[in-house]
């Protein structure tokens, strides 16, 4: 079978594995083009942290060198004046550090975000482009919703990693190192005392983080249960009411709601315990500093300013530890997301086909199916030994009940799927040997579901293909009789159309789709006709368009309306994956077979 098992890809619960080295490496490879920026960012961080950390030291100098003299009634007039001017200088120096810290902190944050956003944009684009190149079988098996999630939400998680985590990690480490260095430079004994407290803070944080992560995980699960329940109960409200199950449904909802409240309360409880715990350690630290520092001061070992600076530093020391603990969660979910993203990026893209080029002049248009068998899913054969030939320039139509396999023939010609048995030849060459891009360009397909992109009529016909000029668009619109309604639009070719928008009727959309196909002047035309409700007038236009399109090229069509294929050179009747009848319309009508029944059904209105 041509298909791979894609199901495992959609495992939403891909366990938060240990940081996967490979993913991490790959993630950082996206950052390497910005290494210069990152060096500057690192310098700015060092500078801004440095400026901030110098401030308590300045206050210490101010207290020890100036204030102690200023407040001392014993000091002389000149000493006072000297101290005052020194104090002013220190104050202005302090102001300078504040200003530099402001500029560098902002500059750093700005640059980091700027690079981070660019990196994210690159990842998002690469991922999306990769998805577009994946084969049809992939899309048949991978839920669309998950693909969207990969491109949007998962990249968003990584975004957080780049923006908040990187800054925090850098800043926190530099701050910690800085504080330790400054403290040791002031007084080694007190510095060691502060360091002794660190394991306590780390242990409390780690224990708390572990616990709270579990709660968060459970909360997310319950919240998605709430969402599922809400969505299905709102959609199924009628059923609930008609079966009079409000009470039961309400109880079920309450159960989940209650569960969420329990988890929520536990979250509050945990935080309410954790924060005070840290508070206690902090005040223990300060009290200890006062005790030990005060004694040192009494012994004349340290000045009061140094003691004060220590009190300041100890408060700044805990913050980065707490923040580092917090970033751990984000890193983990970013790892999960990047695993998913890279896994998707590793999916094999569509085969680009063989080396045979489509000639400049296009395909002649001979199509041959030789004993083709095909199944989308194992053992569910859609086409069973189908053989037919279309001569260059012919117009061949396929008819039959829904599910007979008509559309599949069209899909196979475009090589959306590869066949399981048999051979498909175009101009006597196996379609697998053609360059896929050229082959698809040479074959024009009018699809059943007309997909309009948000944009103008012009761009919807040209699809911004380089080989399609504005003149080609107008010419195509004229050929398929779309020009008459386009000319009536307020902005004509520049009129904006919207997907699912009601600007155009279904008949008009169908004509647009014809024009879109014809505009690139394909040498072979495939028509998968829509059954939408089309008024008689448009139907005549469509019929005329089809005849014009068929006039100078091979065309094969799936027709739901027998009227539109009145001029076909050959009609092939499909039934349950096999060809049951073929011939011209008259021949088939004379046969009194399946075609005749189909014919009667369409012409005898009830």
């Amino acid at each position: 079978m041509a298909q791979t098992n894609y199901k495992h890809l959609d495992d939403q619960d891909v366990k938060a594995k240990k940081p996967d080295r490979k993913s991490l490496k790959r993630l950082y490879s996206y950052a390497t083009p910005y290494y210069k920026q990152f060096i500057v960012i690192l310098c700015l961080i060092i500078l801004s942290v440095g400026m901030t950390l110098i401030q308590p030291r300045l206050i210490q100098l101010l207290i020890d060198n100036n204030i102690s003299i200023l407040v001392n009634p014993a000091s002389s007039q000149s000493e006072q004046a000297l101290a005052a001017s020194g104090a002013t200088r220190t104050a202005l120096l302090y102001l300078a550090t504040v200003a530099i810290a402001f500029v560098t902190a902002y500059g750093q944050a700005y640059m980091l975000q700027n690079s981070g956003q660019k990196i994210l944009r690159t990842i998002r684009q690469e991922l999306y482009d990769h998805i577009l190149k994946l084969p049809m079988t992939f899309f048949d098996h991978y839920p669309q919703g998950s693909l969207v999630t990969r491109v949007t939400n998962d990249t968003e998680t990584i975004n957080e990693m780049f923006t908040s985590v990187l800054t925090t990690v850098f800043r926190s480490f530099i701050t910690l190192i800085g504080i330790v260095a400054i403290m040791y430079s002031m007084d080694a004994r007190l510095a060691t005392y502060v360091l002794i407290l660190t394991p306590g803070v780390i242990i409390i944080s780690v224990v708390f983080r572990r616990a709270i992560r579990k709660i968060y995980f459970a909360q997310r699960r319950v919240l998605s249960m709430i969402n599922t329940k809400l969505s299905e109960n709102i959609s199924g409200m009628r059923t609930i009411q008609v079966f009079h199950r409000q009470k039961q449904v309400s109880e079920e909802f309450d159960e989940i709601n209650q569960k969420y409240l329990d988890l929520s309360s536990r979250e509050v409880q945990y935080y309410a315990t954790y924060r005070p715990f840290i508070e206690i350690v902090r005040s223990l630290g300060i009290a200890g500093l006062i005790w030990f520092g005060g004694r040192s001061h009494l012994d004349g070992i340290i000045t009061f300013g140094i003691l004060y600076a220590f009190i300041d530093y100890i408060q700044r020391f805990f913050q980065p530890i707490l923040e580092l603990a917090e970033t751990f969660n984000i890193i983990q979910s970013a790892m999960t997301s990047s695993n998913r993203i890279f896994h998707l990026m590793d999916q094999k893209v569509e085969d680009i086909g063989g080396k045979v080029a489509v000639p400049e002049s296009g395909l002649r248009g001979k199509i041959e199916f030789k004993n083709v068998c095909f199944a989308y899913n194992e053992d569910e054969w859609i086409l069973k030994d189908v053989s037919f030939t279309v001569q260059p320039g012919d117009f061949v139509a396929f008819v039959g009940a829904t599910g007979a396999g008509k559309s599949t023939i069209m899909h196979l010609l475009c090589r959306f799927y590869d066949i399981d048995q048999g051979q498909i030849l175009i101009d006597d060459i196996d379609i697998k040997d053609y360059d896929l891009k050229q082959l698809r360009e040479a074959i024009g397909v009018v699809q059943q579901d007309v997909f309009l992109y948000s944009g103008s009529v012009m761009s919807n016909i040209s699809l911004n293909r380089p080989e399609v000029s504005d003149a080609d668009v107008r010419e195509a619109a004229r050929i398929v009789n779309a020009d008459s309604f386009i000319d009536k639009l307020p902005h004509r070719y520049e009129q904006d159309v919207m997907e699912r928008g009601g600007t155009l009727s279904s008949g008009q959309r169908q004509l647009l789709s014809f024009a879109r196909t014809i505009a690139a002047k394909p040498s072979l035309l495939i028509l998968d006709e829509a059954t939408a409700n089309i008024d008689t007038e448009t139907e005549l236009l469509i019929q005329d368009a089809i005849n014009k399109m068929a006039s100078n090229r091979s065309m094969i069509a799936v027709a739901h309306r027998i009227s539109t294929i009145a001029n076909a050179d050959k009609i092939i009747v499909m039934h349950k994956g096999r060809i049951s009848e073929q011939g011209t319309r008259e021949e088939l009508l004379a046969q009194d077979g399946l075609f005749k029944v189909l014919y009667k059904l369409q012409y005898e209105e009830y």
Binding site: T52, I67, V71, T88, A91, L92, V98, A101, F102, Y106, Y110, Q117, R121, Q125, Y128, I131, L132, L147, V148, V151, T152, T228, L230, N233, I234, R238, T239, Q241, H244, Q248, E251, E252, N257, Q258, Y260, S265, V268, T273, E279, S283, I286, W291, G294, L298, F304, L307, I311, A401, R440, Q447, D449, Y453, L463, N464, R516, E581, G593, L601, E604, Y606
Partner: protein, 591 residues
Amino acid sequence: MREYRTILQFMRANKWRYVFGIFALLFVDAANLLVPQVLRKFADWAQFGELTLERTGQAALAIFLLGLAVAAGRYFWRVYIFGTARRLEYWLRDKLFKKYLRLDDSFFNQQRTGDLMAHVTNDVLMVRNSMGGGIIMIVDAVFMTLFTVIMMIYTVGFATAMVSLLALPFITVVVFSMSKPLQRRSRDVQDTFSELTTEVQENISGINSIKAFGIEENRSESFEKINKKYQEKNMAMLRMSALFDPLIQFISGAALVIFILYGIKRMSSGSLSLGDFVAVLNYLRMMVWPLIAIGMVVNSFQRGIAAMGRINEILAAEPKVKEAASPSKISKHGADDQALKIEFRDVCFRYADNLPWVLKGVSFTLEDNESLAILGRTGSGKSTILNLLLRRYDVTSGQILLNGVDVRDASFEELYGKIAFVEQESFMFSRTIAGNIAFSSDDNYDPETVKKAAEFSRVASDIEAMPEQYRTWVGERGVTLSGGQKQRLAIARAYYQDAQVLVLDDSLSAVDTNTEKDILNHLEELERGLIIVSQRVSTVQRSDQILVLEDGVISQRGTHSALLEDRDGFYARLHQRQLLESELREDGGEV
């Protein structure tokens, strides 16, 4: 703030929690305000050489005890204020959901599911935040600011306090003036994000067009535009939000410098001690948060008010179809209290005064245990008849009687207990197969009856082929059921109800002919009342009474054979056509 009246009831019931929480918060604030005083005393002792070992110990102990007090207080205010906010979230969510359960089709037809969900999740969250963090902000903004200023004046006198506070109010100004634009920019980011999502969604669903035309590059460029826009919008927001912290740091730093410069003069005159200096440094730092809070509180409550407003709108909505206050009993007491006779008397219906009539004078009677079929084109009003019977809407004029009791006077419980409905688009819930059939919580059902129901609707063999059989989970990530399986499960669900009348709204359309025949046989053997709506003659032909509905009017009625006699009638022509179709389906191909 009037919007908050909805939660008054909750607030009243929880008033002690709020009182206690706020009290704890004030206690924490007070303890915090004393810390600089201890440091002040300590510094002054140090300055004047009065520091002793004993005093050092006292100061250390005081700091530690104050720390303990703060810790204890924090625990309580977090539990009481944040904890209560979480209860409020639960309470509001429950209230909203119960309201949804009471509202009817006329409400749901006008609302988008996404919006209705957002009220229960996002809006509730916003109210929770305003009543949790918001309260903290108010208390801190008011009391913390006030008390810190008082303590500063107490410490260093009015003039010095005022001068050193000169720069700080800019914090409030910055926060306040940034919060609106920041919110707008973040909404821009969200909007662009949903644009991005839509783009991806649309293109992935149109992937075969993209491949057929080989326009991958064009689509990639289109995505690139939005991708770029998203990056820019993000930057626009981040440019501003990145300013927040540095700017506040800058202002508080500047305030410190102003204080030092002013303080120098007062120190030489002896009116400012080292202790005063140390205390003010600490107070200035403590002032930062309450001033931020002042700037944020307005915004937080504005969002809360907007969310509350949306919630109130839902809570104020009333269903059009209401259960009778004192319902009449449908069941007759006596020998056959289960019997149900349904009568439509000249029923007319339209959705609104300015809309066309959907039903124009429909009358019929369904005796107990009889079968009735309604046949007609899409839009002829078939489903409306059922909707009226099941009180999805009420008649505009005329009457629907159950055993002579107007359907509007019956209790919902009795009405829906007597009539079991199989919808056109059968809805399956994410629970087990058995849970779906019994329509009950997942282990609260009678397995025998469930099995019987599944056999009745010919879905038993499908279920038994599933990996976990009746315990197979149906839902988003469970098995995907085919249209026919869903319809048969819905029939099983209706059977399980053991109601007096079964109503099938075109519910056999996705079932193959043979299975349909079996199910129709089972329905006949059941000997209960049956109303069956269909577009297929084969489905309705065995009914005791067939109504042909055209444009809201019964155009033909009678049994199958009687209706066929009118050879040019709608019924006979449809019959003819469907015979042809089945000929095509059954013996076409193998020629």
